[in-house]
Amino acid sequence: MTEDMTPLMIAHQIWRFGGHIAALVCCTWAFWRGGVHERTAAGLIAAGWLLSALLTSRTGHGPGIYVISIDVIILLAFFALAVWSRKLWTFFLAACMLNSVLSHFTEHLIHFERFSYVTAIGFWGGWATLICLATGVNGHIRQQKCQAATALPA
């Protein structure tokens, strides 16, 4: 980090790299402890995250058409996951991703401030989806513990 970085830029870097670390931790946790739905969601999030990082446009005019396309595909996959699993957290996951995709299109229509756009995308498509995934994994673990408790001998 250079000395001329403003507090806002430092916060942005923490937000960005913290997001990468949180994604790695949440996806690993989901693959390790989650059920089939949690692992599917983790796979989708990890794939979307990696592809977005690789295909982001560096021209300074937003993330670019590839990232928007990836987000739309991931959104459709989350819709399918919600319909398949019928778990509440997958509905929230799809809702957050929908907000992320809508933020892309809203920016193209209204052209709001670039920093707000990146923050909105990072929140809905990044942090919020990770929170949903973590909630899902936690619920799965608790459900398994309940199953173990009910299987106890009388």
């Binding site: 319909v83 019928r86 509440l88 907000n99 309940c146 173990a148 009910t150 299987a151």
Partner: protein
């Protein structure tokens, strides 16, 4: 089934517990973690259960136990009213009288549940399963809107709070 009842009765409580978890589609690794035992111990228990029941796989053993217990429970229930003592029956009748009419429709009554707070989340899952695909998508759109409103309200509240603090701090002292 009658031929196997003696074999099922011969299972230890730990073997039954593990077979019930297998019936719930848990893997050996997950069972070991939940019961705080090693995978090898789980394997030993399932192997012994298979041997006692005379079946080839753990799934077959689990299926056999579940079927046996499902058939055994109603038989116990039929005999239960005759075996209830007045000391047990009186509080039970009192509890049943205070229960709401729809309580029985909600499912079996479980004893003091330490995770009663989860009831709301558990009750949502069957409701979600009743929705068709279009209703699911509609619900997701509504949830997205609700999340946006909550986020906007939160940000507006936070901004107003910071503004108020800033105004208070920047006020010049009187006099």
């Amino acid at each position: 089934m009658g031929d196997k009842s003696n074999e099922v009765e011969a299972l230890s409580s730990r073997q039954r517990q593990i077979l019930r978890l297998i019936a719930n589609h848990l893997q050996r690794k997950e069972i070991a973690r939940l019961l705080n035992i090693s995978e090898a111990t789980v394997k030993t228990h399932t192997g012994e259960a298979r041997r006692r029941l005379g079946v080839a796989t753990s799934r077959d053993a689990a299926r056999l136990l579940v079927r046996y217990e499902a058939e055994a429970v109603p038989a116990d229930d039929e005999s239960a009213p005759d075996s209830l003592t007045p000391e047990v029956a009186a509080p039970l009748a009192e509890k049943l009288a205070t229960m709401p009419d729809n309580a029985m429709a909600a499912g079996p009554v479980t004893p003091a549940d330490p995770q009663a707070g989860q009831d709301f989340w558990i009750s949502i899952s069957p409701r979600l399963k009743r929705l068709n695909a279009l209703q699911c998508i509609g619900l997701i759109v509504l949830m997205a809107l609700a999340l946006v409103f909550i986020m906007v309200a939160f940000l507006a509240g936070t901004a107003a709070t910071f503004q108020a603090i800033h105004t208070l701090l920047s006020q010049k002292p009187l006099g």
